[in-house]
């Protein structure tokens, strides 16, 4: 079996019914898709399969033989974040970070398919993704911002977006 993962073609040794999630994590060492529930219920393992958001825990690797797989590692790097990654970072849409990969992939697919940025459509898109830190408002804000939609979270006690940070934070984008 073969998979093209984040643009690199790989031969696959795992048994044919191994879930794609384990192939990515254990065989290929790509760890952004998370084993949150391993039964399709949390969304943390979501990856792009030929451009469509799919649960990596629900796909036998043999069922996607030859497919092109994209994970968060393939969306952008720290020095060159994609639009949705930037929006998540700027809108504090990641708290513990465990659901973030799946959220990002689903949101990325939404934008690629011309998502309107309207809040109801974002909620519908992300309805299969669980965030237990309950940061849904900020997550929806981030997707809306990336799609050019309306942002509603109450941040009146914070300085406006775009202001220079007065403190240098290691690893933060300039």
């Amino acid at each position: 079996m073969r998979l093209t993962v984040n643009g690199i073609e790989r031969g696959i040794e795992s048994a044919p019914l191994t879930p794609l999630l384990y192939v990515l994590r254990e065989e290929l060492g790509i760890t952004s898709p998370k084993a949150g529930c391993q039964q399709g219920g949390c969304g943390a393992c979501t990856v792009l399969v030929d451009g469509e958001a799919r649960r990596a825990c629900l796909l036998a690797v043999a069922a996607v033989d030859g497919a092109e797989i994209t994970t968060v590692e393939g969306l952008g790097a720290p020095e060159a974040l994609s639009a949705i990654q930037t929006a998540f970072h700027e809108h504090y849409a990641a708290q513990c970070g465990f659901c973030t990969s799946g959220m990002l992939i689903a949101a990325h697919a939404y934008l690629e398919h011309g998502g309107s940025g309207e809040r109801e459509s974002i909620q519908e898109t992300l309805s299969g993704h669980v965030c237990r830190c309950t940061g849904y408002v900020k997550i929806i804000d981030a997707v809306a911002a990336a799609a050019g939609g309306e942002i509603t979270s109450r941040q009146k006690w914070l300085p406006q977006t775009g202001e220079e940070s007065p403190v240098e934070v290691p690893g933060a984008p300039a």
Partner: protein
Amino acid sequence: MTGLDVLVPSSPEEAVAAYGDGDGVTVIAGGTIVLPEITYGRLRPSKAILLKDAGLAGITRDGSRVTIGATTPVVELTELPAPIGPCAANVADSEIRAQGTVGGNLCAGIGPEAPRGDLQGALLAVGATVRTGGSGGEKTQPLEEFLADREGKLLLDVSYDEPAAGAFASLDRPHTHDYTALAVSAARAEDGTTRLAVSGVAGHAVRLPSAEAKADNPQAAGEAAAGDATFADDALASAWYRGQTLPVLVRRALTQLQEA
């Protein structure tokens, strides 16, 4: 997974041949139900068939006859008229609907936490028939018969005559990944007969013949429905709750149908 035999047939004929009499065969269409069973060790397949390339996907029409291939993803049904469209749109989330199939939904046994197979009720209401391969050769039979005995059969497609009107009434799901605790589908055929079916009941979806007999009076039909279904307690709802809500859902579905 030593000794595992995985077949990927490339036509319906190859699929039927690979399936044989179905003994010891694990069939994987979308995989949304089977894969967790394997992951959690509840299922350790020795022979598996992946239907992804078997040519069993797609919806075709011949006059008012609609035929849906077994591996058609649930998402492709969401735009169909009621009761099937709204019922399909009420299954899981958009990503699962794009992967899970009609066949998986019709073949799903009762899950560890709740009855599965939300589409069973809607397809019963439109009087669907199924075409299967497997032991005893190719067979076409009413969906009711198939649901009662699915052993040794490989589902190929399901077909029905488009109804004159349809309706779907469901309990809300607490989360998008919950199965529907109870849902009622109703359809009026071209000849004026009304069929009613309920999903979320023990085992698999069933018709509601006593309610059908009083279909022109939604209130009376709702009251009559109670005797037609067997309910169980599970993670989603108690048998009591289902018993209390069935008459309401029947009444709503029939009222919708009258207004359709």
